[in-house]
Symmetry: C2
Subunit: 208 residues, 2 copies
C-alpha cells in the first residue's frame, strides 16, 4: 500500500530525515501490513517484516523500538490511508449526498485492494486499543463534519448529530466487510455505494 508520506506513522515512528529514509520507512510499513495481515500480530515477527521489506534489521530499529511500535504506526498509517482514499473522492464539487456515495465507493475500492486493513484495524482492539478507538472517533468526527456542512447548505437535515455519523460509519464498515473483504466481487463497489446512498436519501419505508 503506497499512500505517499507515511503521515500517520510519524506519531510513533522516528521521523526520517532524508528522502531515502522516507522510502525505507514506507517499505517497512508496507511490509508490516502484509506480515501482520497474513500472520496476525502474535505470529508476526520483526525479521519477517524486514525480510519482506528487503531491509536490514538495523534499518528497522532506526525507526521502531519494537513489534508493538510498528504495529501502532501501521494502524495510524492505515487510518490515514482510509482518510486519504475518501478525501480524493471528495475533491470534486458535489452535493452532500453525492459526497457520501463517493466516499463509500472509494472506501470499498480501497478495502478490496487492501483486504488486510480490516484484520489489522480489528486486531488493534486487542494489541493497541487506543489507536483502535482513535481510528473510529476521528473517522466518525470526519463524517459528522460532512453531515453538518450538508446541513448548513440546506442539502441535509439540520438536526443531524453524532449518532447519525456513527450509523453511517457502521454501514460503511459492514458493507466493506461483506462486499469488499468477504465478497467474491459479486457486487461492484459502485452498486453497493448506490444502494447505501439510496437508504440515506430516502430511508427504507414504502412510499406513502
Amino acid at each position: 500500500m503506497d499512500t505517499g508520506t507515511p503521515a500517520g506513522a510519524t506519531d510513533t515512528a522516528k521521523r526520517p530525515r532524508t528522502e531515502r529514509g522516507r522510502r525505507t520507512l514506507r517499505r517497512l510499513l508496507d511490509a508490516a501490513a502484509i506480515e501482520f495481515g497474513e500472520r496476525g500480530f502474535h505470529e508476526a515477527s520483526i525479521s519477517g517484516i524486514t525480510a519482506r521489506a528487503g531491509t536490514a534489521l538495523g534499518s528497522f530499529y532506526t525507526y521502531f523500538d519494537s513489534k508493538e511500535a510498528i504495529f501502532q504506526a501501521l494502524v495510524r498509517d492505515m487510518s490515514e490511508a482510509v482518510k486519504v482514499a475518501a478525501r480524493e473522492a471528495l475533491a470534486e464539487p458535489a452535493s452532500a449526498l453525492e459526497r457520501e456515495r463517493a466516499a463509500l465507493a472509494a472506501f470499498l475500492r480501497f478495502a478490496a485492494e487492501h483486504k488486510e486493513v480490516y484484520r489489522i484495524i480489528d486486531e488493534a482492539e486487542f494489541v493497541d486499543p487506543e489507536s483502535y478507538r482513535q481510528h473510529y472517533e476521528t473517522t466518525g468526527a470526519r463524517i459528522l463534519e460532512r453531515l453538518r456542512e450538508g446541513g448548513r447548505k440546506g442539502e441535509l437535515r439540520a438536526n443531524l448529530e453524532e449518532a447519525h455519523a456513527w450509523a453511517i460509519m457502521g454501514m460503511n464498515v459492514f458493507l466493506g466487510l461483506r462486499y469488499a473483504v468477504w465478497g467474491d466481487g459479486d457486487m461492484p463497489a459502485e452498486r453497493v455505494a448506490a444502494l447505501a446512498n439510496d437508504l440515506l436519501a430516502n430511508g427504507i419505508a414504502a412510499e406513502r
Copy 2:
C-alpha cells in the same frame, strides 16, 4: 449472562443430560464470558474459568476439550443471546419500522449489560474466524428476513436486499460500540434507537 438454555453452545460442547449438568454448563459459559472478556483469549486460562464458575476442573473437561472449544461455544452462545434479546423485543405486534427500533433498543440494552460481548465476538475474528463470520451472516440474514416481511406487508420498500440488511446491522453494531460500550450513559438506548429509526424512516436529506 444467564440466557437460559445454552442453545448456541451445544453445537460444540458435549450436551448435558441432566438439569444439574445444564446448570454447570451455563455457569462455565458465564464464567468464560467474564474470563475472556477481562483477560482476552491468550491470557485467559481454563483454571481461571473454573475458579470463577466454582466448578472442579473435571467438570470443565466433561463439556469441553480445550480453551478453544469453550471459546467457540461461548461465541455461539453469545450470538444466540443477541438473537434472543432482539426476539423478545419483537414479540409484540408492531409495524416493520417499529420492530427495527425495538430490536436495536433491545440490542443496545443487552450490550450495555454485557459489554464483554463486543470484545469476545471481535476476538473471534482471530481465534475462531468461522464462528465470527457465522455470527454476522446469521444476524444479517435475520434482519433481511424482517425487511422482506415488511416489504410483503407494504410497510417497507419491496426492493430491499442483502446490502440493506448489512447496512442496518453495521449501524446497530457501531451505535452499540459508541453508546453502549464506550458511552458513559450520555444517551439512553431508546433515544439512540429513535435517531437510527428516524434515519431508516426518512433518510437524512433535507425535506423538499
